[in-house]
Subunit: 332 residues, 2 copies
């Protein structure tokens, strides 16, 4: 019989289609041909030498010859860098000027490499760059919520193949984040514990949904994962905000992230995916009830009318089988 | 400058990308070739004569020769018809047995017709069938939330081209619906009015986002629409639950729905879309603070990492332009 599982972090229900579940192998991307990317593409705005195709950089990690990581404003920014944050309230209408920061983080000069194929040190530099831009954006008094995210592949919403991430710093906090903060606060008040720490503790005890453990982070498929192979990488140490990460933890997260994405890359033949850093804003650093993490969502299935019309999800795979499959994919 | 708009019904924020917005014409589906479907396909489980390819029907609207609308259990049901609803609570885990009802509503015997191409009377029969199945499912003591929805086209999650809808009656109420009920209740307590009635009233006054008005229903693009051309069709009369609809209203909704979908079909060249009936459960019939409606979501853009990672949306079109464009599409 199918089973409904409750996600305690988000209060969402998911139907785990236990009986008609697909096997992990069924999600391996069927490619027309194996695509190998060149290291340099003359028309790519993210390749070294083509810097004039993007707005001037806002941050760069230099290399002996050029750069290792480069950050520029998004040429097609969703929010305006210039202007004041102003809120208009008229009757039931609430409008805020679309000001904020929208940057692109070019993760490597090498056009041919995605995260799974980079060196650990390079991924670490990317994460340190995230931290730099996160702190920069958080200092902007117009900004309430900073989202760092990556779109990999067409189904994940990108057409640019040169590996990159983005940051959008928005002038409002979303109802979704507010609801999750309140949910976590309610759990803390009732049980005297961080709900995220509790979830991680239980996952480690049960161990069936663990994908990859490293010194400071644990990658796992959630008990109530909404979609096939979606995973969290959670810090073992309690931290509400991404800004609290130490250098040692960032280095460890780089190793963990690269291996976890490597398991997807090699196990499912480079599926399209999104990841994002889900964190409380910096002003929440130190609170006992919230806990930041990285959320990875492979884009293997489509949202349909049921999900859009109800807020409930159907997962056509078993979280335990997803994790077992990925544990079995060897990465260096 | 871009503008952030607040959706008062869902508390979601959307970035309306006013400056880099695409024109309505940019969303017209680029087809390889215009596809005309045959009226009958020998292998289609939903075509007349092939009834043995589906589970036995649970409801049928007969016609002189065979049937006008036919309902069967979904062959690949997400929930089990058999079994008791049982909830298991162990520590932080909440699990409910996956029992409920999952049916397919075959909207016409004619393989070649989508809703926009059907006769008004046929769409009315479909809506009366929705009502029958909604009431049937709502009487099942295991059921808490009934979702009626349609997936049209591959991007909307269907591979079967014979036009059909589905109903999933689930044994839990979702956090999303609960949050919207609470949000509406809060507005009622504070302002003494239904927030949906207020939104509809304001849309009618401003008129710039209205797509199609009929005697009992109004189709409009929301002020804070999350995606291009997404629309609500809302009853003018205050009703919390779909079960409260009268026969006259159902007939009018059929005409409105067919014309509104016709505007999408002819204006954007048959885009993929989902629609769903968003309603309070039957036990809420008569409450003053909630209001049911039909939500139509054309699948013209992809959710990417920002939306998945923040709960905020970017709409790359202007609701007012969407509505103006659709008003200009003539349908009979």
């Amino acid at each position: 019989m199918p089973e409904l599982r409750h996600n305690v972090l988000t209060r969402e229900w998911v139907i785990i289609a236990t009986e008609r579940a697909k096997r992990p192998e069924d999600f391996i991307k069927k490619r027309k041909e194996k695509k190998t990317l060149p290291a340099y593409v003359a028309t790519c705005p993210f390749c070294p030498g083509n810097e004039n195709l993007t707005p001037p950089e806002t941050y760069v990690v230099p290399d002996t010859s050029s750069w290792r990581v480069r950050v520029t404003p998004n040429k097609f920014a969703a929010l305006s860098y210039q202007g004041e944050r102003r809120r208009a309230i008229q009757g039931i209408r609430r409008t805020v000027t679309g000001v904020g920061i929208h940057e692109v983080i070019i993760e490597t000069p090498d056009h041919s490499k995605t995260t799974a194929l980079l060196a650990d040190a390079q991924v670490e530099t990317v994460l340190q760059t995230y931290l730099n831009r996160f702190l920069f954006a958080s200092r902007d008094p117009r900004v309430e919520q900073v989202t760092i995210f990556k779109n990999h592949g067409e189904a994940a919403g990108t057409s640019l193949e040169h590996t990159h991430s983005q940051m959008i710093a928005a002038p409002v906090i979303t109802a979704q984040l507010r609801d999750r903060l309140i949910n976590a606060l309610g759990h803390f008040d009732e049980f005297g514990e961080c709900i995220f720490c509790r979830v991680l503790d239980q996952e480690l005890k049960e161990s069936t949904r663990i994908v990859h453990e490293s010194e400071h982070f644990v990658a796992f498929v959630q008990y109530a994962a909404l979609s096939p192979f979606s995973m969290l990488i959670m810090p073992r140490r309690h931290m509400a905000c991404f800004s609290e990460i130490t250098d040692a933890e960032a280095a460890d997260l780089a190793r963990n992230l690269r291996r976890t994405l490597g398991k997807l890359y090699h196990g499912l033949d480079d599926p399209d995916f999104n990841y994002s850093v889900r964190t409380a804003p910096t002003e929440y650093a130190g609170v006992k009830y919230y806990h930041w993490y990285v959320s990875i969502i492979p884009r293997l299935t489509k949202l349909a009318g049921f999900e859009l019309g109800s807020g409930m999800f159907i997962n056509v795979s078993l979280p335990e089988e997803n994790a077992s499959f990925l544990r079995g994919v060897k990465v260096d």
